[in-house]
């Protein structure tokens, strides 16, 4: 996917984002905090999709929710269209919320079971007083439902009458109702069946084009990400380990974790055999991240050494992407994705 024209400053700029949770339980006072997000920086331009990928526990969902201040951060700065999101008082924050919205992963818990579809979609309209009359409100709701591919008559029905894919569309309509310029898509298709997933991905792409939306697309499935992302950032244990334009990152990844992640994605093509990297062990827990490079305990890079254990690598430009690895100039694997390796 070609990168859209970068018009001056990015729409969203995140720097040094940190979110720590206090440990829970009986011995909480002494226990170390859970470092869900440990220093994340990213930027999203107008009309662009930045995908944030990683496995469970890497902190990507937390990043999404903290950026739009659904949760308070521990530290960091988020500048959205010139506004310092974390410094805003209640009223200005509420006004800004129109511009940044979120779509959730679980279609079964993201809609209030006791509200009709129409009321759910209209909620933003009511909160921000975007429709002076009832007639106009209903007209807007109808238009939104149709825009996401649903029948306007669904407004009178309740969520439980709909399938997962339809509920996701309702959630998208709800987010669109306030006319945002930026949407955090928190694993929006992970819980859907394959054919429904494809429908929703196409819908999101069409909406982006039609409305000029920017997305922070959080996912764990790289094949899905490839369909929609202009740029990709890979997270591991609360940090970004590699980021760059989608096609570059997917064809010539430089961080060993990205390479392992790509290698692990099962390709629906029995004739294609590629280097299968199987990582040893389990991902370490965010309560006890290893010192130095967060990935060093499972890293298979031939040049891995003491430095990796001591020093946290910074993101630096390597061959087209930014990678946080001391030895990223030398690729850890001999061949990349396209080659046929037995």
């Amino acid at each position: 996917m070609s990168v859209p024209h970068a018009a001056s400053a990015p729409l969203l700029q995140v720097s040094d984002l940190v979110k720590h949770y206090k440990a829970e339980g009986l011995f909480a006072a002494k226990a170390p905090p859970v470092k869900a997000v440990d220093g994340v920086a990213l930027a999203v331009a107008r009309g662009e999709t930045l995908a944030l990928v990683g496995e469970s526990g890497c902190g990507k969902s937390t990043v999404g929710r903290t950026i739009i201040r659904l949760q308070e951060p521990t530290a960091g700065r988020v500048i959205f269209d010139g506004h310092d999101v974390f410094a805003l008082a209640r009223e200005p924050l509420r006004a800004l919320r129109r511009r940044m919205q979120i779509v959730f992963q679980d279609p079964y818990s993201s809609l209030n079971p006791r509200m009709t579809v129409g009321d759910a979609v209209a909620e933003g309209i009511e909160i921000h007083r975007l429709a002076p009359t009832r007639l106009e409100r209903n007209a807007r709701v109808a238009a939104l439902l149709e825009e996401v591919g649903l029948d306007a008559s669904y407004a009178r029905r309740y969520p439980h009458e709909f399938s997962g894919g339809q509920r996701q569309r309702i959630g998208i309509a709800r987010a669109l109702a306030v006319e945002p310029s930026f949407i955090v898509c928190d694993e929006p298709v992970s819980a859907l069946d394959v054919s429904v997933q494809a429908q929703v991905i196409n819908l999101l792409k069409d909406l982006q084009e039609r409305r000029g939306l920017s997305y922070l697309f959080i996912a764990h499935d790289l094949a899905v990400v490839r369909q929609i992302a202009h740029r990709i950032a890979v997270m591991y244990l609360g940090r970004i380990v590699e980021t760059g334009p989608a096609e570059v990152l997917l064809s010539d990844p430089r961080h060993p974790y990205t390479q392992a992640l790509l290698s692990a994605v099962p390709e629906p093509d029995p004739t294609r055999r590629r280097a299968r990297i199987v990582l040893a062990g389990d991902p370490p827990s965010p309560t006890n991240p290893p010192p130095g490079c967060p990935f060093h305990t499972r890293c298979f890079h031939p040049l891995r050494d003491e430095r990796c254990r001591r020093e946290v690598p910074a993101l630096r430009p390597v061959h087209g992407t930014l990678a946080a690895c001391h030895y990223a100039e030398t690729s850890a694997i001999a061949s990349t994705l396209g080659a046929d390796v037995v």
Binding site: E55, S195, A198, I201, A223, P266, L337
Partner: protein, 325 residues
Amino acid sequence: MTTLLDIHDLHVSFPDGDGARVRPVDGVSFSLERGRTLALVGESGCGKSLTSLAILRLVPSPGRIDPGSSIRFGDVDVLALEGEALRRIRGRRIAMIFQDPMTSLNPVFNVGDQITEVMHAHFTITRRDARDAAAELLQEVGIPDPRARLKAYPHQLSGGMRQRVMIAIALAGKPEILIADEPTTALDVTVQAQILEVLDRLRESHGMAVLLITHDLGIVAGRADRVAVMYAGQIVETAPTATLFANPSHPYTQGLFGSVPRLTGPLARLSPIAGNVPPAGRWPTGCRFRTRCPVVHERSETEPPLLRVEPDHEMRCWLAGDGPR
């Protein structure tokens, strides 16, 4: 090729609340061969999980397996078994692993106990021997430091480890057939790769037949010898894996392939199947896919049987009768 399990015309029905019965599994037939993996592929609501439960007679009530169905394990008629005889099959000759290891493992028993429980149920074995065998199994499924792990409780283990434990429990009875119902869906991609590797290795070393139930075509491509695609309670296409991927013929299968995003190859817009899967009981008459099919055949108001596409490749579609595609 030894056929271990033969399913013929399996029907599972549930009462629909209005006196009639709904058949979420409606005439399914396939067989499992020793040392081979059959993948049963489909989306939610197609009946694949129920099919696997039916094999072990674990269909939850008020569902039931309808008469006329046949499940034969060697020369044993599984549907005719009762009590002790049925118990001797479950876990011992046919074992099953499930999608969510957290709810499939008993949280109040440690891992070692859950494995040895299976052994004690099916073999006469001393406690010491059972514990030794359990540690060996944990080793085989790739759990480091197996002896120490025997005392661990499920909540102390990660998702990947728990799934390995579940595989170990399944293997404890030394089964000939392993049914894996979406074994990696709840796991991260890197862990998924590990688990699939384990399953492959064990299938080889133990000479089992594996029934792999999944919705992920990527997993099927790498790990299955043969594929059966299910839609609306029926098998709509079946072929060896390479054949199916080279020549997907049923419009639903083609739709699935068109919906799957790929990591390699040219980047194209996804072409999903129109509409939604109708719930069981509201399937169209005749060909069940005809309301969503892009190439509806003129005969589609009559339900098509499985027709031959090419050698060892069948599909439930009238288009097969129109010659090679």
